[in-house]
């Protein structure tokens, strides 16, 4: 079993009973036997504890910010969040167009969550949840469902199917197959991109730290810092692009 971090240990101390009971109950359903935890005293893995920490930081930060909102003299946190929101609006306007504002909710949340998850590994005694494949896969699954839901919502059931089948009737069966396949491939590539970049980001300091333990790893930590922002940005552009492809009008 991997080394248990302090926050994971805390969560396991508090919630191990309930989580184990819940997972055992789910694993009794047909086909879901793999969710049964290997160790009933430590059912919560490190990456999930990391996600919970990020979730708590975002929610508590939002509650504190909500209580202090002010038009006359905005605080530093409010300014930062407003800048982030403005950045989201610009991105959505540029990628989706003028009717893209409703999609800011998901895209901004994803960006913030992934950015904080990426940066979490730079804090000593914590790890990067996105360097474990399940976390990016979860985010990519949300994006996949979101894009297809909005495709069906905007174009209607048959309209979206026709959109997937391409412009020409005689090539539609092939086109439909390729479109659906590439839709799933997008989920794979979103997952693989974030996960592989973050895995490389946390592994590089380890590798170079084993060669030269002084100074050199911090250079690669800086690289990880830059990469964290870049990958969060990419994970905001691509869902926006996919939504715009799914909901765009035919020309």
């Amino acid at each position: 079993m991997e080394h248990e971090l302090w926050f994971t240990a805390l969560l396991n101390r508090l919630f191990a009973h309930g989580v184990t009971a819940l997972l055992v109950m789910i694993s009794s359903l047909p086909g879901l036997a793999f969710v049964r935890p290997a160790d009933p005293i430590h059912p919560i893995p490190n990456y999930f504890a990391g996600e919970v920490l990020v979730f708590l930081v975002i929610v508590i930060g939002a509650i504190i910010l909500r209580a202090r909102l002010s038009v006359e003299n905005p605080g530093k946190l409010q300014m930062a969040v407003e800048t982030f929101l403005q950045f989201n609006h610009n991105l959505v306007d540029e990628v989706i167009g003028h009717d893209g504002r409703p999609y800011v909710a998901l895209i901004g949340t994803l960006g913030l969550f992934i950015l904080l998850c990426n940066l979490e590994g730079l804090i000593p005694t914590l790890m990067t949840p996105t360097s474990v494949v399940y976390v990016p896969l979860g985010c990519a699954t949300v994006v996949f469902l979101h894009c297809n839901y909005h495709g069906f919502r905007v174009k209607g059931f048959f309209g979206y199917l026709r959109h997937l089948s391409g412009p020409m009737v005689w090539i539609a069966p092939l086109f439909f197959f390729i479109e659906v396949f590439s839709d799933f491939l997008r989920m794979l590539s979103l997952t693989a991109r974030l996960w592989a970049n973050m895995l490389a980001g946390v592994t590089l300091p380890d590798v170079f730290g084993s060669l030269v333990p002084i100074g050199v790893p911090s250079v690669f930590m800086l690289l990880h810092l830059v990469e964290s922002f870049l990958q969060a940005y990419v994970f905001m552009i691509l869902p926006a692009l996919y939504v715009s492809l799914a909901t765009s009008e035919e020309h």
Partner: protein, 106 residues
């Protein structure tokens, strides 16, 4: 004073970096049949080819973007968006190689 303190803290963190990779013992490179295990070598060669060609492609993209911004600095935001998108899609091809290596080499 504050900058000096921050510098000192960075230096100490750099000094204190633990090296968990050292703790991993090297496994003998033999396959189940007793012969040499060529998997890691193939992984290294494959990843080298993938990242080399990906580097060529990304270099062309970055060169094109730089040239575009040099000719028309006003177009910077649009070019930046397309540069990032292009780099991301080029990079994902190398990442597929990484993925296959990760799946095949345990």
């Amino acid at each position: 004073m504050k900058t000096k303190l921050i510098g000192l803290a960075t230096f100490v963190i750099g000094l204190l970096y633990a090296a968990p990779a050292l703790a991993a013992a090297a496994a003998p490179a033999t396959s189940a049949g007793g012969g040499t295990d060529w998997g890691p070598i193939g992984a290294g060669v494959g990843m080298a080819i993938a990242s080399g060609l990906c580097g060529l492609g990304q270099g062309r993209a970055a060169a094109g973007a730089c040239e575009g911004v040099a000719r028309n600095p006003g177009a910077r935001p649009g070019i930046f968006l397309f540069l990032i998108l292009g780099l991301v899609f080029i990079e994902s091809l190398a990442l597929y190689t990484f993925l296959i290596i990760f799946l095949k080499i345990k």
